[in-house]
Amino acid sequence: MASTVTDALPFAVVALPFIASAALATIPSGRIGTLVNIASAALLFVLSCALPWDLPDHLVRLTTFIAMTTSWAGLHEAHTPPRLYHCGFQALVGAIVLALLAVHPILTWIALVIALAAVTTIVDTATSAARPLLLCGAGLMLALLGSLLLEQAPAPATLFLLLGYGSVAGLVPLHAWLVDAAAEAPAPGALLISVLLPNAPLLTFMHLRTEAAPSMLVALGLLSVLFGGASLLIRPDPRRAIALSGVAMLGFVECGIGLGVDATPRLIAMLALARAALLQCRDNGPTHAAAVLTLTLLPLFALYILAEPAAAWSGWLLLPLAIGALLTSWTLPRLMPNAGAARQPLLLLAPVWLQLALVAALVVAP
């Protein structure tokens, strides 16, 4: 049975990052802040391992694992990030976990508003946070409207929810903020924003039970698949390219949810792990090549998973899915130059390989 945030262990999993965030606000030293951030992320992962073995808790474990490995990057940063960055890091992880574990839709919404506040803190350390606030804020307003109207007017409410939470997940048409944030925020923060934040809205999509949801999910998913793939043709910089490939891949996930594909949660995990591995990789040797190859093959694997249900739903659906998959797989490796810096320390290489191994394990898992 799924756990709820009112049980003791899930409550601790949600509370720990927020407590750490508050504590980090009082620590002036960047070095100590980094260590506290790492310790809190590790403890959170250990705690989350004790959660029950079901879907929202799997996503929580995925979130805490990637947050833990991402926090290690701080040990080798040349410049210590500002104090607010670590607060935002922990608050964002806490908000994502709360959104994943929340049973009540309004609590999910509040968690995502907190996540937006944390995103602006992280992005603000590098550049203006006005765009996330505007696009994501507008999206969350639509999502609140959708949550309220779900029983009164299910069809329009579903559209509001999909557009609204789609903006948080970085899905077309309100995706632009996430691509910008992923390109402009400090690398670990960008990873949290573009890789982990989308999981909470995607879980909300899985819980949508209205009659109109499947067709709307497939239509909006196709839009993301095609737009994300086509956007890679204009040759964006590497971090934008990873974010745009994520838009396309999230489109596949959205289609998978709409088509009722059982393997969709697996696809979500594989996408998160592969993107995290590539974003954490700073070496331009075999590790980078393996990460690029994994992310390049993912759209084709997604197409393989979706092909049968898509053909059963409607034959024409295969065409745009195949075009999107081929576009993404063909263009992505060309946008990943050997731009890496010096050799990466073993401590930071290990999680990259571990994440890639997990992706491989998920491919062959029954």
């Binding site: 919404w109 006005a130 804020g137 507008a138």
Partner: protein, 166 residues
């Protein structure tokens, strides 16, 4: 009373689209917040004072201190075209769900249009008033949902951002 107030709030939204001064826009938002809180109060909701205090008083006053007096000038023909489109879509799509819901959804959509075209905090505050109208129009809505609809978290986030920028 409870049928007139949502319509009044909708009319104020239409006026808001044409306003170019921040102070005037915030007065209109405050009046709209008053209408939304009044609709909640007419239904006997305990959340009405919260909505009144936050949406009709605290937030407009706080925004007046941090926003510049002149709003960015959007392209008026395009703005009006979009506004008329939203009015038609909302009237046709939501008319059958009742006056309160149709007016509330229209106010939200016009607010978001304003946020995208001109002033984000004012637009989101107006949209929040629309959400309050929708919450008031839904029978037997749980208290926590009404409270979430009435507390302007997103406009407050924009306010905090604008304040920190200053």
């Amino acid at each position: 009373m409870s049928t007139a107030l949502p319509v009044l709030a909708l009319l104020l939204s239409i006026v808001l689209v044409s306003v170019r001064r921040t102070r005037t826009a915030l007065w209109i938002c405050a009046a709209q917040g008053l209408c939304a809180a009044g609709t909640l109060a007419a239904d006997g909701s305990l959340v009405a004072p919260v909505a009144l205090l936050l949406n009709a008083a605290a937030l407009p006053l706080a925004l007046q201190r941090v926003l510049e007096d002149r709003l960015p000038d959007p392209s008026p023909p395009r703005l009006w075209l979009l506004a008329v489109g939203i009015l038609i879509i909302a009237a046709v799509g939501f008319g059958r769900f009742g006056n309160g819901i149709a007016s509330g959804v229209t106010v939200v959509l016009l607010g978001l249009l304003l946020a995208a075209q001109s002033a984000a905090p004012i637009g989101l505050l107006s949209a929040q008033n629309g959400v309050v109208l929708v919450a008031a129009a839904i029978p037997d809505l749980p208290m926590e949902s009404t409270l979430s609809a009435s507390v302007p978290l997103l406009p407050a986030l924009l306010l905090a951002h604008a304040w920190l920028r200053q």
